[in-house]
């Protein structure tokens, strides 16, 4: 689940330490576009993995993944 998903976000990291050179309270930031997974992709991924684990007979893992899929849509 490290691959980019459908969601889009901007990751801002502080590039300068200390006060801003142009005034203000903080230094500059670097913006980087990221593509994380959205809620439905996370839910589908956990559900699909749970299906595969159920076929392999790992029931404890299935319970954990089904709960994780439910939590994805509740949050």
């Amino acid at each position: 689940m490290k691959l980019p998903g459908s969601d889009r976000d901007v990751l801002r990291t502080k590039s300068l330490s200390g006060p801003s050179p142009v005034g203000g309270s903080m230094g500059g930031f670097e913006s980087q576009n990221t593509f994380p997974l959205d809620e439905f992709e996370l839910q589908a991924a956990h559900y699909n993995i749970a299906c595969a684990q159920a076929q392999l007979g790992n029931l404890d893992e299935v319970r954990r993944l089904i709960f994780a899929a439910l939590v994805c849509c509740v949050r």
């Binding site: 689940m1 490290k2 691959l3 980019p4 998903g5 459908s6 901007v10 801002r12 309270s25 903080m26 500059g28 930031f29 913006s31 576009n33 593509f35 994380p36 997974l37 992709e41 996370l42 589908a44 991924a45 699909n48 993995i49 299906c51 595969a52 684990q53 076929q55 392999l56 994780a68 994805c72 949050r75």
Partner: protein, 156 residues
Amino acid sequence: MSRRLSFNIPTFLASFVVITISISSAYVVPNRPMAFVGLAGIQNSVQHHHHHHSLTLSAATGATADDNNNSNNSSTSGTGGIPQLATFREAEVLGLRYMQEGNYEQALKGKHAATASQRRNLSFFSHFFYTFFVLFHLKQFAKNSFSTRHEIARIG
């Protein structure tokens, strides 16, 4: 004529909240110039994204590595003939295809990687504790303010 200490508690509380939120890292200034992502940046990122998508689409839609060895439209990793996947959707389609074929171990490959949901939950909890941090200081400040007010009333 006695001079009284005029201390507007609601105004001070409001300014405290605004200053605290504005200097925190959880607050994103809406029109900050260095954080602004212009239209050109968005277009470049989308084109970059679609470029990767078109490169490996054939790999995700069921074409094997042997079918595409002669063309440049698909690239494979060195082990096992698994195509290099650029997006989550491609990996999902490939995993579902493996599951249809009954190859469940192959479909589950890489499932223990760090998920985006864990990173999001961490972010959620940091905001959660920061809210309590602000509320705690507001409570302390209100407590100190009211005690000072009662002392002034008692003395004067």
